[in-house]
């Protein structure tokens, strides 16, 4: 696939952030920026245009992924938001408007397949490949691609 996604990674555990960023780059996409907290995300220029954001729920500076999710939705409404968290139970039923979740501990295969599936949906919706089991989709994802 020649299409390249611009991806935002919001994760306070630097090892995991590096790993996720590497998987994104290895999949042929571009990491726009890394952020460890809501404050970091708020400091990003509005001129960015991410198509995808991976967001952890528990973040640095006592901030959380649900607030980051609302911020992204109001500033970059086109971005797909995927939570990456070990706290799947903390995600509200409506996903706060996010499009899916990848549960930690994730596997390399699980994340790479999710990136592949999401890219297919971003550039040629709906995606022609089946959704990998590692990615749980929220109703918003289906609504987006219909």
């Amino acid at each position: 696939m020649s299409d390249i996604m611009e991806v935002l990674v919001v994760e306070d555990e630097m090892l995991l952030a590096m790993d996720i960023e590497a998987m994104i780059e290895d999949s042929g996409h571009h990491v726009l920026a890394g952020a460890a907290s809501l404050q970091d995300v708020e400091a990003l220029p509005d001129s960015l245009n991410p198509q995808l954001a991976f967001v952890d729920i528990h973040l640095a500076q006592n901030s959380n992924g649900l607030d980051v999710c609302s911020y992204i939705r109001s500033h970059w409404p086109d971005a797909l938001i995927i939570f990456v968290t070990a706290n799947v139970a903390k995600i509200p039923a409506d996903f706060s408007g996010a499009h899916g979740v990848i549960a930690k501990p994730f596997s390399h295969a699980g994340v790479v397949n999710a990136i592949k599936y999401l890219a297919a949906g971003v550039f040629d919706p709906p995606p022609s490949i089946p959704r990998p089991p590692s990615l749980l989709a929220s109703p918003h994802l289906k609504a987006r691609w219909e």
Partner: protein, 368 residues
């Protein structure tokens, strides 16, 4: 009038029944304390009491006759019961009530009072007949039982609260440990992946990749375990299905066709890691060896149940592998040893072309 004149007591009733009446004699002589009151006189006074009643209350006949029954009441008599008696008298009903009464010497007794109106031929209430019975022992026994019941209930409540608090603490601890395991597994995977990226030697990188796949397989086992509501059982069927699509999907090999016939198949949670690792070895081996050098083909996964056994069969249509080569790899050793641990049996068969690996293992006996 003295006690010896008891025979004459009912004479004073000046009613149809009196002296010589065997029924009146019975009332006089019975051990059951009894009184008769006359509602036609002011304040419904007692007009007859038998000896048993005098014994029960400690009053002499002279102190009883002419008074309203309320002289037996005291500070601890239940006013609601007195009201109930008053209503019954007013309405001309019978009433049956346990009442705390007071003797002449101030001691109390529980009085099982039965009061009923006595009507004449025209239905007019001429008398009230009351029988008493000292049920102090019964009431006290009941009170002791009630007190003990209350004590036991309080104790049960206290211990239940203790247990609930202990369970809550245990649940919090379990979640915390679970969370740490998840975080550590994620970080181990990330560390390995970051390291793999820096290695130029393809054979070293391949070995690290295999290690990484094993850690990832454990991570998936753990994730599936904690996301399930049932911590005693593990759905190895569902795990195999997601592992196959994960491994083949991330290999970027769209030329490998998947033929998956999955179904839920439960094993005891304690065998989840071992069987998960076994499946990972078989699958990654198949992808690496059967479909090496870009050879396309079909990888099939079949999940079956046979009596109390679960069977997972993974087949490829590759060139097959000589057994000598199989026995040298750490993967084969892992499969053999882990199979023994999980009481599973792995067998390799020629699939002509390709290889079939069949793993048979005990299913969970835990109820669903």
């Amino acid at each position: 009038m003295k006690q010896r004149d008891d025979w004459h007591l009912t004479d004073a009733l000046e009613y149809d029944h009196g002296r010589g009446d065997p029924f009146a004699a019975a009332v006089r002589a019975t051990r059951m304390p009894m009184v008769i009151t006359d509602p036609a006189q002011p304040d419904n006074p007692i007009v007859f009491c038998n000896v048993a009643f005098q014994r029960l209350t400690g009053y002499a006949r002279e102190e009883i006759v002419g008074r309203n029954c309320r002289f037996l009441q005291g500070p601890d008599t239940d006013p609601a019961k007195i009201t109930a008696i008053r209503h019954a008298i007013k309405a001309g009903h019978a009433i049956d009530v346990d009442l705390l009464n007071y003797r002449k010497d101030g001691t109390t007794f529980w009085n099982a009072l039965y009061l009923s109106p006595v009507r004449d031929a025209d239905g007019i209430v001429r008398f009230f007949f009351a029988s008493q019975f000292d049920v102090t022992d019964r009431v006290e026994a009941q009170t002791i039982i009630n007190d003990q019941k209350l004590l036991v209930e309080r104790e049960v409540e206290r211990r239940t609260a203790d247990l609930r608090a202990a369970l809550e603490a245990k649940t919090i601890l379990l979640h915390e440990v679970d969370h740490r395991v998840k975080n550590n597994l994620t970080m181990i995977g990330s560390l390995l992946r970051l390291q793999v990226r820096t290695i130029d030697d393809p054979s070293v990188a391949a070995k690290l990749e295999s290690m990484l796949e094993r850690v990832d397989a454990l991570a998936v086992v753990h994730r599936q375990l904690y996301q399930s509501s049932d911590i005693a059982r593990f759905d190895i069927g569902g795990f195999a299905e997601s592992l196959v699509s994960d491994v083949v999907g991330s290999s970027g090999r769209s030329d490998i066709v998947l033929d998956i016939k999955p179904q839920p198949l439960f094993i005891d949670a304690e065998n989840a890691s071992a069987l998960g690792l076994i499946l990972n070895e078989i699958l990654t081996n198949a992808v690496k060896h059967a479909f090496a050098d870009g050879r396309s083909g079909t990888l099939s996964l079949k999940v079956e149940r046979e009596d109390d056994q679960g069977i997972i069969r993974i087949c490829d249509d590759g060139p097959g592998m000589p057994s000598a080569q199989r026995s040298k790899s750490i993967g084969t050793a892992l499969i053999t040893r882990l199979a023994r641990q999980a009481r599973a049996e792995a067998t390799w068969n020629d699939n002509r072309p390709g290889t079939c690996v069949t793993i048979a293992f005990p299913r969970s006996e835990a109820p669903s």
